[in-house]
Structures are given as C-alpha cells and as structure tokens.
C-alpha cells in the first residue's frame, strides 16, 4: 500500500510525536507514506465564503501535487481543508477554473483524499490491524475524542456518522484496549477560543474531560493537534482523576511495540500538565 503523504506544519513541530509514531507504525504495517516534495501550508482554515478563493490556492496546489494518487494526512485540520477544497473543486466549475488557471495546474477534483484512520479502516482493515498488534493494550481504558474537523460537514467529509462515529473506537478495540464511550466525544473542544476567550474553552474542555472520567476513561485519544492542546491546557484538573491525552497514532505505535510517549508513560499516574 503506497500513499502520497502531506504532513502539514504542526506535525513538524508541536505535533511531531503524531508524525513520528504514525510513520513508524505505518512502516511496521507495510504502509508506505511518501512525503510530498516542497509541500506548503494546507490552507489552515477552510474559508467561510465560497468565493474566497485565495484561501484555496494552497490546498489545491497540494491536491494537484498528489497527481491523482491517494493523498494521506494526519492532522485533522489539514485533512479537513484538503477534503473540503477537493469537494469544492468537484462541485463548483467556476471556482475550479479560477483557482487552477491562477495556479497553472490541471486539477478537477480527482484522487482519494484520506485521513490515516481511513487507511486503517478502509484499506488495511481493523481485523488485519488486530492481527498485526504485537503488544495489545490490555486493561487500558481508552476513550476516543473526535472533535469537529474530521466529522463535519458530514456530507463532504464522508468520514463517519457525525453523531455516532465508531472509527476510533474500532481502532482502540483492534489494539486490544477497553473502549470507553463518552457522550461528549464529538463536542467542540473550544477551538481557537482557548486564545481569545479562555473561559469558554475551559468550560467545554472541562465538560469533555469530566464526562470521559465519569465513563471511566484513563486515556483520551485524538487526531487533532488543537484539540489535544486545549484538552491538556485549558482545564483545571485540580483534585480530579488524571486523564492522559494522546494522539491516536501514539497508542497505535505502542501496540505495535514501537517507541511512543504513551508507552513511556505506562504505569505512571501523572497529573495532566497545567497550561
């Protein structure tokens, strides 16, 4: 299995651990991720207005660079922007013409745009993944936290049921851990309000963490660097049972017997770092 791979900026900095663990796990599973040469920003935020085409130059350039081959990304925000830009290119001929003319590229919306989780589910298969697990995460109580970017708008993202997603839970199950479902797993993490309205983000994060705690989770996994930042930094966890937040790929690598932060933390009961 061979894919073009788009990392995005965060995976080379703040979320380096997501890239490292994914690449290691992918290699162990025989999944080849070939990094695009000379890649640039994913576009960061998908524009609110359909005629704000300037924001689409970057993602469309990336999409065209994949040359019609399946394009995989890891960061939820990158995947979101790429997938939506692709959908607009397929749907809106006018926008497509303007953007591709400006970029001087040929692109008509072709090629699969995948999140790595979709590769595991749709191309590899969770049953196959289960067979490849070297160190099952037995006894660990793991909850998935999806946030919004992978799921919505559901008609465009086509990722999973936006209200009752199962993809991460299915992965957790395949890795041998105990799945814990928390009702707030698809709620907003507070997004950029953690910068401008800290109180709002604190409320949302607290609710997410409290609900995961009530459900009995010890570990929360996510695919979004911003979600993880908020989950780790916005809430006051004073006196509460600690919950560790990891990227999905970290527990994946751990289960594959590869080095990861989650593996290092094993057995320790540290407080969630305060931000």
């Amino acid at each position: 299995m061979r894919y073009r791979y788009f990392p995005g900026c965060t995976l080379k900095g703040q979320a380096k651990s997501m890239e490292d663990t994914t690449l290691a796990a992918a290699k162990a599973m025989g999944i080849e991720l070939e990094e695009l040469s000379e890649w640039q920003c994913c576009g960061a935020v998908y524009p609110l207005y359909e005629d704000e085409l300037i924001s689409l130059l970057s993602p469309v350039r990336t999409l065209a660079a994949a040359e019609g081959e399946p394009l995989v990304s890891l960061c939820a925000a990158c995947h979101h922007v790429l997938k939506r830009a692709q959908e607009l290119m397929q749907r809106n001929e006018d926008a497509r013409k303007k953007v591709t003319d400006h970029l001087e590229v040929e692109y008509a919306g072709e090629g699969r745009v995948l999140h790595f989780l979709e590769v595991l589910r749709d191309d590899l298969g969770f049953d196959k993944l289960k067979e490849m697990v070297k160190k099952p995460l037995e006894g660990k109580k793991v909850a998935a936290y999806y946030g919004c970017l992978l799921l919505r708008p559901s008609k465009v993202m086509q990722f999973d049921d936006p209200e009752n997603p199962t993809i991460m839970e299915d992965m957790i199950k395949a890795l041998g851990a105990e799945v814990v479902k928390s009702p707030y797993r698809t709620e907003c993490c507070g997004a950029y309000l953690s910068v401008t309205e800290e109180g709002v983000a604190a409320d949302t994060v607290e609710r997410i963490l409290d609900s995961a705690r009530r459900a009995g989770a010890e570990i929360l996994v996510t695919a979004c660097p911003l979600c993880r930042y908020n989950l780790e930094n916005c809430a006051d966890n004073e006196g509460k049972t600690p919950i560790k937040v990891y990227y999905f790929s970290e527990i994946l690598a751990e289960a594959m017997g590869l080095p990861s932060e989650s593996a290092e933390d094993q057995g320790t009961k540290e407080e969630v770092p305060q931000g």
Binding site: E163, P183, S211
Partner: protein, 661 residues
C-alpha cells in the same frame, strides 16, 4: 364546407374589459365556413345557452365555436347546449379567450387580435371535428377497499350501507390499523379502542362486507367499472371456519417473536392474534419463528387445539375478483429516528417514539398500562417530548409538517400527568400547530392546567448518564442552552408513507408525490379521486392526517365509489387514441409511455405479394385510454391519432394562427 357558428362571451368585464367584442364578432364572420356570429354577456347562463341552441336550429349550424373561459370550466355546459339542439357535442370547440387572453393582457389593442387569432384557430379545428361517441361501459357492482384501518373500515361501512358488496383486503391478521394501537384520542380523550372496536365488529358482521385479512393485492388489471384483481390470501395455518378463537394455542405456544403491534416493545407468541380485540379472532402462525416450521418439531398448538383447526399444510391462495371501484386506504408508517444519531434512539430503552409511548399507556400494552420506564420499571418523573423529528427538516428528513404530532404530544403530556401526578413534561417545539375544532384549547390546557413546559427550540444531544438521560438543547426564545436530566424522552417521529407505498401505487396504477404519498386528482376539488378513474384514496396514505380528517375522507371516498357503482352504464372517454395500424411499425414506444396500460401489442395479418404477412402493431383499448395524448406525440411515424385532437386538427389550428398573420 361546414356551417359554423361563433359565439363570444363577455364574461361580464372579464373578457369584454380587454377584448373588443364587437370587433371580434365582426372578424369572426369572415373566417372560412362561418355563417353566423353572435355575442352575449354571460354565455354560460341559461339565456346564453338558449342563444346557442336556437342559433344552431335556425341557421342549420353543424359546427359551433364558443369564445369563452377555459374548457375546464364550461366545455361540458356548451356541449350539452349543442346536444340539446341535436348536434353531436364533440362538434363544438372552445376558444379560451379568458385565461389565455383577456386575463393575461392589459391592453385591448393587443388582446383583441389575439382573441381573434384564437377564435380563427378554433374555427379551423372545428371544421375538422368529427362526431364522437363515448363508449358505454359496464359496472361491476362490487367495491374493493385496500387497507383495514379506520379509513378502510369507514369507507367499507359506508359503501356496504348503500347496498353494495365490499371486500376489505388487510395485510395484517386483524383489521384495526394504527388507530387500534392508540390509547386515547385528541381532543376529547375518548379511548381509541372504545370507539374503534364497535366499527371493527360492525364491519365484520355486515352482510355486505367480506374481510380478507392476512391478504395482499397481487395484481390489478382492467379499468373503471371492471377492475380485475388478484388477491393473495396468505396461509394462516389455522382453519378460520373451525377456529373458535379460544386462545389455547397461543397460551401454550412455547416460542416467541417481537410483537409488531407493540412496536417491538413486547413479545408475542409464534401463533398469535395481534391484540385482544382482533377481528377476526383467528390466529395466524408466523413461520419465521414457529418451532415446527423452523425445526420440524413441537406441534403443541395442533395437539392442544380443541376444534382441531390447526392446518400446517395450508397454502397461500389467490382469489380473483372483479370490482367496479377501488378505495386505497393503506395508512402510514412512523419514521425510524435512528437516522438522527444525536437523539440516541435505539440505544436506550427510555428513548421512545410517539407511537411506542402510546403502547406504554395502553392497558394491554407492554407494561400493562402502567406508565413506567422500560429500563427499570419505575414511573418517569421528568419526560422530554421532542417535536418535528424528521418533519420540517429539509436537510435530513421530510420537508412537510406531520400535522398530528403537536396534538398527540399535548395529549400524551396530559395523560402522563394524570397517570403520574408528580411527573413534569417538557416539550421542545419549532411551532405549535393546532388548527382544528377544539385543538388549540386542548393544547393550551396541556400548557396551562397540566404544567407542561413548552420550549421553542431544538435538542442537539441526548445521552445516558447515571440513571437518567441528559437532554441538551436550546431555548431559542431566551437563547439559552438547556440541559434537562430526564427519565424518558419521547420523539415525535415524522408520519411517513408506508414502506411499500411505491409498490402499492405501481400495482394499483395511481401516482404518488416525492414522499410516496398517493396523489389526489386535484388538491382542492378532487381530494379523494386519483388520476385513474374508479380508484379513490382515503386516510394517511394520501398525506399525514388525524382521525377526524381520515374518517371524513373515507366517507367522501365511499360516496364517490357509491356514485360510480350506482350507475347502470359508465360513459367512457370519447377522445381516445387510435392507431392507424397500416402505418404502425410495431416499435411499441407507445406501450412503454402509456400511463394507463391502455396499449397492447397485437398481431395482424396483411396481404404481402402473394402471401400473408403477420406482424405486430399497437392497439389501444378505448375503455382504458384517458386521452392524455402521450402516445400520439411519442409515435415516430405519426400513426397514432388522438380523436378530437388529431394531427390534422392541430396543424389546422397552427396554420390558422400563422398563415393569417
């Protein structure tokens, strides 16, 4: 040369206000074949009709053109006036100079020449009109009602009372339908079974009504007055003649399946009657769960049955009957709310649909009429009702309003308060819509006397937490988030067409809207007729509606059926299609496009050189043809003519408009 008379109507000022009548009459005199022209203020009045009748006689007219309103309004009136004077009514032609002319123009200078052109075209066509005879058709004095809910029962009773034999075909083992599942009915709170069961019994006992339960319509052929219908009577494995309905079989039956009547909230036996007041009180064996049919052993029902009515060898039977009229009353389904993941329906026993909650109230329901939570058997203290689940939802559900939910939600909230006095109800709504006699008052009573909190807004998430359900929503009037720790949630799921409605529509030959509700022939003036003559619709198979409306519609459909059955002969459509078989190539594109299955292939013999050539051509059954003309325009060789609208006639009209300009 024909002797044509032209008559122009003022229609008060409707036509005369924009069309210069005098000029039009003068111009008409010069049309080819016109020997008489006149005008009158209201041609449709008795005086106006007299003018036409007299002029036909006095001037020996053999064609008549009236310049009036649309033929949909008064074509029949004027045809009768012509017939009165001894003229074949199809020799009269209407030029629509009101809807097509005076109403759409403001300027008399523009409207007058257009009216003249329309009249000239009509006169040109009239010259080619032929005398037509509408066929006289027999009427089978028997009606078929499809569906044994309240709509079907009411329609059947009305038809039977008028003296005609009616068969009710019901797919379930008992008649009763949705109404049998309800606890009480709004706005009077009378018990649904108490008002329904007498009607069920009356239908069963009526000498003119035959119940064909556990039966389905398999095929409908023929046409108004003579529908040939095949009905499949499914094997019950119980002899209805011997069975006394004692109930020993289902008491002793060891295997169970989910009860359809209880919306899956309870079990029933494999040999069962759906509910205690079932009519007929004859059980059926469900093959899918029966031990004998699955594994070949058990036979307890057979051993225990005192009159030995069990018959495992029974087979499905096909009954073939002819009917004069058909009433379709196949009812509705409830939308499955699992498509709304945020409501968690199906994931927790205390998240119910409206129809399921109905069963919780019912004395013979899964909880024996105790209003309790299915999770732990305790009475619910906080119940959240959510309206418009799948209704008024362009994105994921149906665009329409389901109409009954506001009222039944108010009803259920009232009933809840009466059964569990310390219970509190919350209703999330988009709008409260309670048009109807006594309806608004009823809903206000729920809000004002029964302490039901109405909140305008929607719910975004429901999930279980500890021993309750957390309902998170928004009150859009105060713009505040609301979180309720509820014991039970009731979803007013949309009223939708039966899952098999498209198939039933196809089978019977009636069309549906985009939601698969059957279409009436006219939304205001033909509410129970369909586009297929002789087939009528009643109840929620046409659109969501409540019981009073359903019953009114059922009686209306019955009257239409009775009117049809009471005729000795039916007048068919005179303007039917006709195949010029010598020109027909037998491609049968016309057969494919005909919406009334009126065209069939037929083999003809033609002399060819020295021998005889057999070939296939199309043939129109004039009794089935409704004169829509689809075949005539589809025909590649132009070998189909619609009588009264032949290709020559249409071309004559076009020429009359174009050549004179």
């Amino acid at each position: 040369m024909p002797r044509t008379g032209v008559f122009i109507c003022h229609c008060g000022s409707n036509i005369a206000g924009t069309v210069d009548i005098d000029k039009t009459v003068e111009a008409s005199r010069n049309f080819p074949g016109v020997v008489h022209a006149d005008e009158y203020r209201y041609l449709c009045s008795e005086m106006g009709q007299d003018i036409i009748t007299k002029a036909i006689k006095e001037n020996d007219l053999d064609r008549v053109v009236v310049g009036t309103c649309s033929p949909r309004m008064h074509e029949n009136t004027f045809r009768k006036a012509a017939a009165e004077a001894g003229l074949n009514p199809y020799l009269l032609e209407v030029a629509n100079i009101r809807e097509h002319c005076s109403w759409v123009h403001k300027d008399m200078e523009e409207a007058t020449p257009k009216a003249i052109a329309l009249l000239r075209a009509a006169a040109a066509k009239a010259a080619l009109n032929e005398a037509l005879e509408a066929p006289r058709l027999d009427v089978e004095k028997r009606a078929l009602v499809i569906g044994g809910g309240i709509a079907g029962i009411q329609a059947a009773l009305d038809i039977a009372e008028a003296g005609y034999v009616v068969d009710i075909v019901e797919k379930d083992p008992s008649i009763g339908g949705r109404m049998a599942q309800l606890e009480k009915t709004f706005p009077t709170l009378d018990c649904s079974a108490c008002i329904l069961t007498p009607k069920m019994v009356e239908a069963a006992q009526h000498p003119n009504i035959n119940l064909l339960t556990y039966s389905e319509v398999d095929e409908v052929k023929g046409f108004v007055g003579q529908f040939d219908v095949k009905i499949k009577q499914k094997a019950r494995y119980v002899d209805p003649v011997k069975c006394t309905g004692c109930g020993i079989c289902w008491e002793k039956c060891p295997s169970k399946a989910s009860s359809e009547f209880e919306m899956g909230l309870a079990k029933r036996k494999s040999i069962y009657v759906p509910f205690a007041q079932a009519v007929p009180m004859v059980p059926v064996i469900d093959r899918d769960s029966c031990l004998y049919f699955r594994k070949g052993r058990c036979q307890i029902c057979e051993q225990e049955c005192p009159p030995q009515a069990i018959d495992y060898e029974q087979q499905d039977e096909i009954i073939e009957r002819r009917y004069g009229a058909i009433v379709v009353a196949t009812g509705f389904d409830q939308l499955d709310p699992t498509i709304y993941g945020e409501y968690g329906y199906g994931q927790h026993p205390d998240i119910l649909t409206g129809l399921e909650f109905e069963r919780i109230f019912n004395a013979s329901g899964p909880t024996g009429g105790k209003v309790v939570k299915l999770s732990d058997g305790k009475p619910p203290k906080k119940v959240v009702f959510i309206q418009c689940i799948g209704s008024r939802d362009k994105a994921r559900g149906m665009n329409y309003c389901s109409k009954i939910c506001c009222m039944y939600t108010a009803k259920q909230a009232i009933l809840l308060k009466e059964k569990v006095p310390d219970a509190k109800s919350y209703v999330f709504y988009i709008d409260v819509r309670t048009g109807g006699k006594g309806y608004e008052e009823f809903q206000r009573r729920a809000a004002e006397e029964y302490d039901v909190a109405y909140m305008r807004g929607q719910v975004g998430k429901i999930f279980p937490e500890d021993d309750h359900l957390v309902v998170r929503g928004i009150d859009s009037l105060t713009n505040r988030n609301i979180e309720i720790k509820a014991d039970m949630v009731v979803l007013a799921a949309a009223t939708v067409a039966r899952a098999d409605a498209p198939e039933v529509g196809r089978l019977v030959g009636i069309n549906s809207d985009s939601y698969h509700f059957f279409n009436e022939a006219h939304p205001k003036l033909k509410p129970v007729e369909t586009h297929t003559a002789g087939i009528f619709i009643a109840g929620a198979c046409q659109a969501p509606k409540d019981i009073p409306e359903t019953v009114s519609q059922a009686s209306a459909a019955a009257v239409k059926a009775i009117g049809l059955l009471s005729k000795e002969k039916l007048q068919g459509e005179a303007c039917t299609a006709e195949v010029i078989q010598s020109e027909c190539s037998g491609c049968l594109n016309c057969e494919a496009i005909c919406p009334y299955t009126a065209i069939t292939p037929v083999e003809i013999e033609e002399r060819y050189k020295d021998g005889v050539l057999k070939r296939t051509v199309a043939e129109v059954n004039p009794a089935l043809c409704q004169g829509c003309g689809s075949c005539a325009v589809t025909c590649r060789s132009g070998s189909i003519n619609l009588k009264g609208f032949s290709n020559d006639q249409i071309m004559a009209e076009v020429d009359a408009i174009c050549l004179q300009r």
